[in-house]
């Protein structure tokens, strides 16, 4: 069974204080690892897809990295508008083209001014 564990569950940072969120996963053949951002009462918003160990992607103050067992979302000099829940999900290799995602519980990030 595919599993995704995110840590920490919650993180409070001062504006400008860099940190990293962790996503550990077990999957029977990884097709892709996804990072989403979710604001209260809204659906997840896509950030990154990583496909193979060693891959890195960046967008503004966010950088995602991938190893064979975990992924990190690095947040550099965050601003209050980066406050959200960050979700990690994996997509397994499967026959028939099906590609449902397995999500972690998320990390609730608060950036204080």
């Amino acid at each position: 069974e595919d599993q995704v564990t995110q840590s920490p569950e919650a993180l409070r940072l001062q504006e400008g204080e860099s940190s990293s969120l962790n996503c550990s996963y077990t999957v029977s053949g990884l097709r892709g690892l996804f990072w989403y951002r979710q604001d209260p009462g809204k659906g997840p918003e896509f950030l990154f897809t990583l496909y193979s160990a060693g891959e890195e992607k960046e967008k503004e103050r966010l950088k995602a990295t991938l190893t064979k067992k975990e992924s990190f979302l690095h947040i550099t000099a965050p601003k209050p508008e980066d406050s959200a829940t960050y979700l990690c999900a994996v997509q397994a290799e499967s026959g028939g083209g099906a590609d449902g995602l397995t999500f972690g519980k998320g990390t609730h990030l608060i950036i204080q001014p």
């Binding site: 809204k42 659906g43 896509f46 083209g97 999500f103 519980k105």
Partner: protein, 111 residues
């Protein structure tokens, strides 16, 4: 370009009742997936529809069923509602295995 639209946005039902939620995928997308997100949890995969057939199903009972129409829109039906079915129900659309685009969800409360 309209993204994924879901209706209704909020719904209150009584235990034992049945409910139907609706989803219109993003333009150009042909695959629809449904997820259940309980408060404080990550989304859980319910099932996926492609070419009007259920292609993949998560660990949900048969009370949860769905349908996809020729225009790719989809419905999620839940029978014999339980208090534990209270959650945010998310619809996501995609095409050819590309990234899922999520709607804002339907908040279902069962009383």
């Amino acid at each position: 370009d309209a993204g994924v639209t879901q209706s209704p946005t909020h719904l209150i039902k009584t235990r034992g009742q049945q409910v139907t939620l609706r989803c219109s995928p993003k333009s150009g997308h042909d695959t629809v997936s449904w997820y259940q997100q309980a408060l404080g949890q990550g989304p859980q995969f319910i099932f996926q529809y492609y070419e009007e057939e259920e292609r993949q199903r998560g660990n949900f009972p048969d009370r949860f069923s769905g349908h996809q129409f020729p225009n790719y829109s989809s419905e999620l039906n839940v029978n014999a509602l339980l208090l534990g079915d209270s959650a945010l129900y998310l619809c996501a659309s995609s095409s050819q295995g590309r990234v899922d685009t999520f709607g804002s969800g339907t908040r279902l409360t069962v009383v």
